[in-house]
Symmetry: C2
Subunit: 318 residues, 2 copies
């Protein structure tokens, strides 16, 4: 059960009672046991559900005739999203479907973001759990729209009807699916005009690589430079320097590039300037950093910061 | 010696040689020993000084006729500042003067911010050092425009000509002066329309209070809400929740207010709504949080996030 446009957060006892009542009503209507219903809620903080409207809606549900397709689900759970987010992949004889919503207040752990995965592949629950955790950590937990956070949900449902599939093939397929959703979310980030991918390698370990990549993707000055298609690598260097605890990063060993063009420390050849400019004007921009220290790597995804982000969030009424 | 509009950062050996040459030229011109000259440089990262212009300028200096007043200094060190920042206080028979610049890429430790203090009070160097560190930590290190950082400088010069002053009076005066400069910087933050003050009390200790206050003052969603004069306390609650390591914060004990009006957990009385609205439309906005846990306190300063911040920084050309 997904409630969109109201997070039911910081609503106290009234909020808890409303969630319980809602679960019971849905349970009665759809003939599921209440404990088989997961509740996910997203939207404004601190306002109780408008229960009058909610009761009328639930009591009027017509499950037999409603559009229960995945595209319809993706559309129904949108809040400030501008496009529904829905991806399908095949793996052997099975299918995995993912739907997600979220465009702002997004940082790990996957804040104000809902993602639901459905598959008919047969996998033992502990194995599915392990694969799912691993995939989410490398995809949704590497996404940041604005460094802000809130509650979030990611769930996978598997009914086993299509039988077993090879574990590694399933993991690859699920990873590809989750990454496609993550890119859709970043690309639809509030006010975003570009998808920003930041890859860091040569770190002491993957945790350091991720910290540095997150500092870059979350920096307002990097995000505005990308918005302005400005190859301002100084701001990327600044963001690396923000990682105060990472005192083992040596400035002399750091390499910074946009796409496959290195811009620091060696100056870009004049003949590559036009290519750099075109690259920064594209809808997908990649920043590549090599810390020149070890084998740790990480990739994170985010978006540019535009004036539109400000107006969306300055006008979002409480 | 202050060089404005060029940080001389990430310029390698050429940058170092340029700084040395500049120090020598200024030293020869003004008859100071080179080791008595402090160099502070602020502006674009990664571009060498335009030495042709700089040499002509330094060689043409006329120290006897130049305007060496503090207001002229405050004006000369501006980069994207829209107003010069200059404050004077008296303490006993002595005076303290402060000048500063900086409007963006500002987080501790005092990034891309230059602050110079001058006094004729006589204080032993170790004592002055201790007082200065303490004051800077509680003022400039509690300032954030955009969470982004770079190199910075804060220095105090004392010639002792006015004789001794009581230590505590000097510290109070210097604190007041530094705070006045911090507020001028926040108020002049890139694109800022409001000064935002965040006070956190009831924390386990002052370090926790400062972490929480910083999470609030740096949150893009809090900053845009303040820009839109929206009493969206849910975003303040979200920012407190961002402090992942502070697992001892109990949501049930947290109190959130704007100015002297508490907005969470108790709903605001209807008669106070207009006062809240007026408060949020003012040029100075204060968010007050009580974590209800201990005696730790901190206050930090910042500003709202406007579309103007984005355009200033998207168009800042490399």
């Amino acid at each position: 059960m997904v409630v969109a446009k109201n997070a039911n957060v910081a609503t106290g006892r009234e909020g808890r009672a409303n969630a319980v009542e809602l679960t019971q009503r849905v349970s009665a209507k759809l003939h599921f046991a209440p404990h088989d219903i997961l509740v996910a809620s997203t939207g404004i903080i601190g306002s109780p559900y408008p229960m009058d409207k909610v009761r009328i809606f639930v009591d009027g549900l017509e499950p037999d005739t409603a559009d229960c397709s995945f595209p319809a689900i993706a559309r129904a759970i949108m809040t400030t999203d501008t496009v529904p987010k829905h991806v399908v992949v095949r793996v052997g004889g099975a299918t995995i479907v993912g739907v997600a919503k979220g465009v702002g207040m997004i940082e790990p752990n996957m804040a104000t973001m809902l993602a639901f995965f459905f598959t008919d592949a047969a996998l033992a629950q502990p194995l599915l759990h392990r694969i799912f955790r691993k995939v989410i950590d490398a995809t949704f937990n590497c996404l940041s729209i604005d460094s802000d956070t809130s509650t979030s949900t990611a769930v996978i449902f598997a009914n086993g009807l299509a039988g077993a599939v090879p574990e590694d093939e399933f993991e690859d397929a699920l990873h590809g699916l989750a990454l496609a959703l993550v890119k859709k979310i970043a690309r639809d980030g509030e006010g975003a005009t570009k998808l920003l991918e930041v890859g860091v390698k040569g770190a002491r370990d993957s945790a350091q690589a991720r910290r540095v990549a997150k500092a870059i993707v979350n920096s307002p000055l990097v995000k505005t430079a990308i918005h302005g298609a400005d190859p301002n690598w100084g701001r990327v260097a600044m963001a690396i320097g923000k990682c105060e605890q990472d005192i083992d990063i040596e400035p002399e060993r750091v390499r910074i590039g946009f796409g496959d063009l290195q811009v620091y420390p060696d100056q870009l050849a004049a003949r590559d300037l036009q290519r750099l400019s075109d690259m920064l004007r594209a809808e997908n921009v990649r920043i590549a950093v090599d810390l020149g220290c070890g084998g740790g790597e990480a990739t994170v995804w985010g978006c540019d910061l535009s004036a539109e982000y400000v107006s969306i969030n300055a006008d979002y009424s409480t």
